[in-house]
């Protein structure tokens, strides 16, 4: 019972943030709602017995991605004050298609009888995670680290100001 209440609280955070993102016109609010959704997701991970993932979620998503998005919004803030509508011509089409897709996926997914195991998790998931990262998943792990390095270098090169001589804007 307690778990269900906690689940509902986090659902309010996650879906409330999501609805906030699509309903607000202000991009800055969108980014704040995004960080609300992401924090709720961290709560979900705690409920799902994935404490490490919850911390990763907060560090990477809230602490890096949401902050980065807010930063980008602030850097390009003339865009924010524009009074023109923030949505494009596909709005009505999307407003019809998205709920239909939601219903379609839900109907399909709820029909399936998933092979749910009732076993309680034993042992420390953190140890298992560490052993898997350096065991069966070691190659994806290394590839991801290379990917992150490439993305880091690429982002710096892309964002560097080549037009102005000193890069005053930075």
């Amino acid at each position: 019972m307690a778990e269900q209440i906690v689940f509902f609280i986090f659902t309010i955070l996650v879906l409330g943030g999501g609805i906030g993102i699509i309903s607000t016109k202000n991009l800055y609010y969108s980014a704040l709602f995004l960080s609300m959704t992401l924090s709720g997701m961290a709560g979900y991970f705690v409920l799902l017995n994935a404490g490490f993932l919850a911390a990763v979620q907060v560090v990477v998503y809230v602490g890096a991605i949401a902050i980065l998005i807010l930063f980008a919004i602030m850097l390009s803030r003339r865009m924010m004050t524009s009074s023109e509508p923030q949505t494009n011509r596909q709005t009505w089409l999307a407003a019809i298609v998205s709920p239909l897709l939601f219903i379609a996926i839900l109907v399909l997914v709820l029909q399936v009888n998933w092979p749910v195991s009732s076993a309680a998790p034993t042992g420390d998931a953190l140890i298992l995670l560490g052993m898997s990262f350096l065991g069966s998943y070691v190659i994806p792990f290394e590839v991801i680290s290379v990917l992150l390095l490439v993305a880091l270098v690429g982002a710096i090169i892309l964002a560097r100001d080549t037009h102005t001589d000193t890069g005053r804007e930075q």
């Binding site: 994935a50 195991s117 898997s132």
Partner: protein
């Protein structure tokens, strides 16, 4: 033992995915599109971790995939925002409909 059925998680993940899809499809601003993409990636993460917890509670494959998704999302956000900032500097717009030239 757990009081929350798997279908709840799946429903929430679907709802979040559709919200993200709607944001991606309808927004003009490139940063808002990126926010929609992040929502969709997160809904995938809910499914990964929920199915991991409910079908194989003593393995962590789903969690590992979620970590990979988060890492890729971070890389993607960094590169995408760098592109958005560079575009904004050159053409003073972040409207995805106005960014239609292939070279500057």
């Amino acid at each position: 033992m757990t009081a929350i059925p798997l279908s709840w998680w799946v429903s929430v993940a679907t709802a979040l995915f559709v919200i993200g899809l709607y944001a991606t499809l309808t927004r003009k601003n490139a940063i808002a599109v990126l926010i929609g993409l992040e929502l969709m990636l997160n809904s995938a993460n809910i499914n990964f971790v929920a199915f991991n917890r409910y079908t194989t509670p003593n393995q962590v494959g789903g969690q590992i995939f979620a970590v990979f998704v988060i890492a890729i999302a971070a890389a993607e956000a960094a590169v995408a925002l760098a592109i958005i900032i560079a575009t904004y500097r050159r053409s003073a717009t972040v409207d995805v409909e106005d960014i239609d030239s292939m070279k500057f």
